[in-house]
């Protein structure tokens, strides 16, 4: 059985290795699935090795994921060496390690608790009589990262997820919530907990019962659009804001495939709107979903600004990208923090509020998006169906962001920001 220690010893012996990072994740997982009447427990150990080899031609890198427990560490290292030597690219030097971020990523209530009991707790939340079938997943892991430079960091982390099917009459809605803390999911007082999500889902299901067909398609001068929280964050939890994460990819930017360059407005006129957009990435927020003390290669995780008042300001820099640019790494895109807005929620012209989407697809090169409507309201009348096409970057750069109730921003998963946005002058297709 290969252990982290064996791997470190084996790679340390290899003089050809210019730099290395070994990571180990010891994971325990518990799943309680009400839908299937199933309890699942899983234990796994995942080892990772990143290895760099320097030659006259440049630097080669190999990344090896090791799941199996048979074989020897020496064999793994030799194989990784072979891979790295065959994959040589431009020369770059490893950046000296920096201090890890001081961040908590484990729920204190889950440090020693029985995970199966915790999984039961997150499916037995208060449903107020609603028919809900859910699956709860609780992960607890011990992570350790060790590098050739002597850097070493260990931490414990927790992740919880609930997948729920809310049923009312002849209709149903699927919900997903993720968090690091049990309380964030099951505390009914919290605005984005599962009990609150179920209440919202039931309201939407009742609206769907009486929903009509898509209203007439319009010319774009007539219509404003409000993306409510569930529509705005559809899919993986970042929803429409993913478009900025893609544009901040340093590799894409280098080859000229992004829409904008550092220092330039993200779209013409983005700096002159009433509420210029500011977005930052922050991996050091306690108990936020994408927080961590260090990255997978021991790279530092730092808060950085992607868009500053409408101007492109920063890129996600891995170790390699940072070294090639002579900059410090920042750990890549982590939790997205969207700057607050001033919109009070009052409509200006005919406004369609989209509560839920069926599908959201975003073209990664152009930022164009297609939003398929599941539930929306036009002058208070519910309807279902229809498509909205947006140049997301332009739309969000000019969007008005809703002031959050009681001056508290919405915090869901890896998103921290306003609960809704208003986009002016869009076209609705039937």
């Amino acid at each position: 059985m290969i252990t982290r220690r064996d791997l470190v010893r084996a790679v340390s012996r290899e003089r050809r290795v210019a730099d290395w990072v070994v990571s180990e994740r010891v994971q325990e997982l518990a799943i309680v699935d009400e839908l299937r009447g199933l309890v699942r427990r899983e234990t796994r150990t995942r080892l990772g090795l990143v290895l760099h080899v320097d030659s006259a031609l440049g630097r080669g890198t190999a990344r090896v994921a090791i799941d199996a427990t048979e074989g020897t560490a020496s064999t793994v290292v030799l194989r990784a060496l072979s891979l790295a030597t065959a994959a040589v690219g431009p020369t770059w030097k490893s950046v000296p390690p920096a201090a890890p971020a001081r961040v908590d990523v484990i729920d204190p209530a889950l440090v020693k608790t029985n995970l199966e009991e915790a999984a039961h707790a997150i499916v037995k939340f208060n449903r107020d009589g609603a028919t809900v079938r859910s699956r709860g997943t609780v992960l607890r892991e011990q992570v350790e990262i060790q590098a050739k430079s002597g850097f070493r960091e260990a931490w414990a982390a927790s992740e919880l997820r609930v997948d729920a099917l809310v049923i009312a009459g002849e209709r149903s809605l699927e919900l997903v919530r993720e968090a690091r803390k049990l309380g964030d999911l099951i505390d009914a007082q919290r605005s984005d907990s599962m009990p609150q999500a179920v209440t919202t889902a039931l309201t939407d299901l009742r609206s769907l019962e009486s929903a009509g067909a898509t209203p007439r398609a319009t010319g774009s001068d007539e219509l404003d659009l409000v993306l409510a929280t569930d529509a705005m964050l559809h899919g993986d939890g970042l929803g429409v804001w993913n478009v900025f994460a893609v544009q901040a990819d340093a590799a894409l930017e280098r080859q000229g495939l992004t829409r904008y360059r550092i220092g330039a407005p993200i779209v013409p006129g983005a700096t002159q709107v009433a509420e210029p957009l500011t977005i930052s990435s922050d991996g050091a927020i306690d108990h936020a979903l994408r927080s961590a003390p260090v990255g997978e290669e021991g790279d530092a995780i730092r808060k950085f600004v992607l868009v500053d008042r409408g101007v492109s300001a920063g890129l996600a820099l891995t170790m390699r990208e940072a070294a090639l640019r002579g900059r410090d790494p920042n750990g890549g895109i982590r939790n997205l923090v969207i700057g607050p807005g001033l919109w009070d929620g009052a409509p200006v012209r005919r406004t369609i509020e989209i509560r839920r989407l069926r599908a959201l697809s975003i073209d990664r090169y152009t930022g164009n998006a297609s939003l398929e409507i599941a539930l929306a309201f036009d002058d208070g009348k519910a309807f279902t169906g229809g498509t909205v096409r947006l140049d997301l970057i332009a739309a969000l750069s000019r969007a008005r962001r809703k002031v959050a109730d009681k001056q508290q921003v919405l915090r869901r998963g890896a998103y921290i920001g306003p609960p809704a946005v208003l986009i002016e002058r869009v076209e609705l297709l039937s």
Binding site: M1, L29, I31, D33, R36, G37, L38, V39, R40, R41, E42, T43, R44, T45, R46, L57, G58, G60, T61, V64, D67, A68, T69, E70, T75, R79, S82, L83, T85, A86, A87, V88, G89, L165, I167, E170, R171, S172, S220, D221, D249, A251, L252, R254, Q255, L257, R358, A359, S361, Y365, T366, N368, S370, E372, A374, G385, R389, L390, E427, L429
Partner: protein
């Protein structure tokens, strides 16, 4: 331009399937044999049988599944070849107690101690065993032939050795080999199977105005490393043609045209529809249950859809599912009438309980879907309208059965012949039931598509064999529209 970065920027591969082929000048290492499976067949069988004996003493229903998975991937472009190997073992012990609750204990430690620890997690300190008749030990499966890194490299470089058109910005060929060795043991049943899944693809990218266009050809099979389906230079040329094809600059005329769906679009539609609507898991939703009644008419009488895991050599085939049920074909739609759904044991069905990577959570899934071919060659199905080609993905909303299928191209057809006009990036939007119900022609020729995706980091394999389908979107039912995918314009 850095090739790795371009690949990532083009989004043509996931981290699990494409390697960063960075350079070509590294010293060639002596070839080495790819690691053989380490577990001993008899040992694994003994551990699992012992586990089942101990579990059966406590629980009325018991099943043990073990898997060893080796994956080798090679990617080659004009500047070099990269290789990667990964190994994933696992054991899944499943029990059902007298109250009817299912419990699973999963471990990545496929050793005697690992299996014993998993048993202990379920039975606690109990040391009781019962004597069980497992039936005969199955004959040993044929061991896939081993291959060296050098052979892997040669196979993947064979396609890229030919000079690529200078207008092509980037080209890469990929070879992905997954060897799985699965044991399934329960009282009265001892099953074992080894399979080699091979997937090969060639990708070419070229600029078309402000954005890159990707042309790709991909095939997969189960069997030996060499297969009639393996890609050759003609396939690389086809991928290049797709990437370089001149597109009509005029805007696409959105509307209810008559469309002829090429097999990739048909496959995408059928695959998405079956997974969204024709499984016992999907039937948990009241909207799906209401619309899906066995015996009801759900499609045109021209359509018959079968899920057949026994199709020899197909990428999604298997000998037994991950609940130990032997593979058998299942007709889902028979001449337009619904006759079956895919089910696993927990969902009240049988024979399609599949786990991602053989270790993930079980869910009912298709294996090898086949749309039975019709009587007419696809050339004779052309009507004035559009030939929709190059599926890019389909989304089905199970609540409403609305479907959106993205496609790379729409060719204008007039008088039964292509006019030469080709529009890029279109989508077909409509109701899945009405679309299937409006089919007026099914071709006699079909193509097969081999699909691999991942769930929670574990692979799922399936394949679809599909013909051309003709659908008049403007008929009385008005099943859908075809329209451009690009933005309508934000003013």
């Amino acid at each position: 331009m850095n090739r790795r970065e371009l690949l990532g920027g083009l989004g043509v591969a996931s981290a699990s399937t494409l390697l960063w082929a960075l350079g070509c000048s590294g010293t060639q290492k002596p070839t080495s044999v790819v690691a053989e499976a380490v577990a001993d067949r008899d040992s694994v069988r003994t551990w699992l049988r012992e586990a089942v004996s101990r579990l059966r003493a406590v629980f009325p229903t018991v099943h043990a599944l073990a898997v060893e998975r080796l994956r080798s991937t090679a990617a080659s472009d004009v500047l070099g070849t990269g290789l990667a190997h990964a190994r994933r073992d696992g054991v899944v012990l499943v029990v059902r107690d007298e109250a009817g609750l299912w419990r699973e204990q999963v471990s990545s430690d496929l050793t005697r101690q690992g299996v014993a620890n998993a048993v202990r997690a379920l039975v606690g300190t109990s040391r009781k065993t019962v004597s069980i008749d497992f039936g005969p030990v199955p004959p040993a499966s044929e061991v896939p032939r081993s291959f060296t890194d050098g052979e892997l490299r040669n196979r993947v470089e064979a396609i890229t050795r030919k000079r690529v058109d200078s207008r092509v910005v980037y080209g890469v060929s990929l070879l992905d080999i997954e060897d799985t060795w699965v044991f399934s043991i329960a009282p009265g049943r001892d099953l074992e199977h080894r399979a080699r899944r091979v997937r090969q693809s060639v990708i070419r990218a070229a600029w078309n105005g402000p954005r890159p266009v990707v042309g790709s050809v991909e095939r997969g099979w189960v069997g030996k490393l060499v297969d009639p389906r393996a890609l050759g230079e003609s396939d690389a040329e086809r991928a290049t043609e797709f990437a370089l094809e001149m597109m009509t600059p005029a805007p696409f005329p959105d509307g209810r045209h008559t469309v002829l769906l090429d097999p990739s679009v048909t496959a995408s539609l059928v695959d998405a529809g079956v997974r969204a609507l024709l499984t016992t898991a999907a039937a948990r939703r009241p909207e799906v249950q209401r619309g899906i009644a066995i015996g009801g008419t759900v499609a045109s009488p021209l359509l018959t859809v079968i899920d057949d895991p026994t199709t020899r050599g197909s990428y999604g085939s298997f000998t037994f599912d991950d609940e130990g049920e032997l593979a058998a074909p299942l007709t889902l739609i028979d001449k337009g009438r619904l006759t079956g759904v895919l089910g696993d044991r927990v969902g009240g069905g049988r024979g399609r309980g599949l786990r991602a990577g053989h270790v993930g959570a079980v869910e009912p899934s298709p294996s090898h879907l086949r749309v039975v071919a019709g009587p007419t060659p696809h050339g004779d199905l052309r009507d004035d309208g559009f030939l929709i080609e190059g599926a890019l993905g389909a989304i089905v909303d199970p609540g409403t059965t609305r479907v959106v299928i993205a496609a790379a191209r729409a060719r204008v057809i007039k008088g039964g012949k292509p006019t030469g006009h080709v529009f890029p990036d279109v989508e077909l939007v409509g109701d899945l039931g009405l679309l299937f119900g409006s089919v007026t022609g099914v071709s006699s020729d079909s193509e097969r598509f081999d699909l691999r995706d991942e769930r929670d980091g574990e692979p799922r394999w399936r394949s679809v064999e599909a013909p051309w389908l003709r659908i008049p979107l403007g008929d009385a039912k008005q099943p859908g529209v075809v329209r451009a995918r690009q933005q309508a314009g934000l003013k």
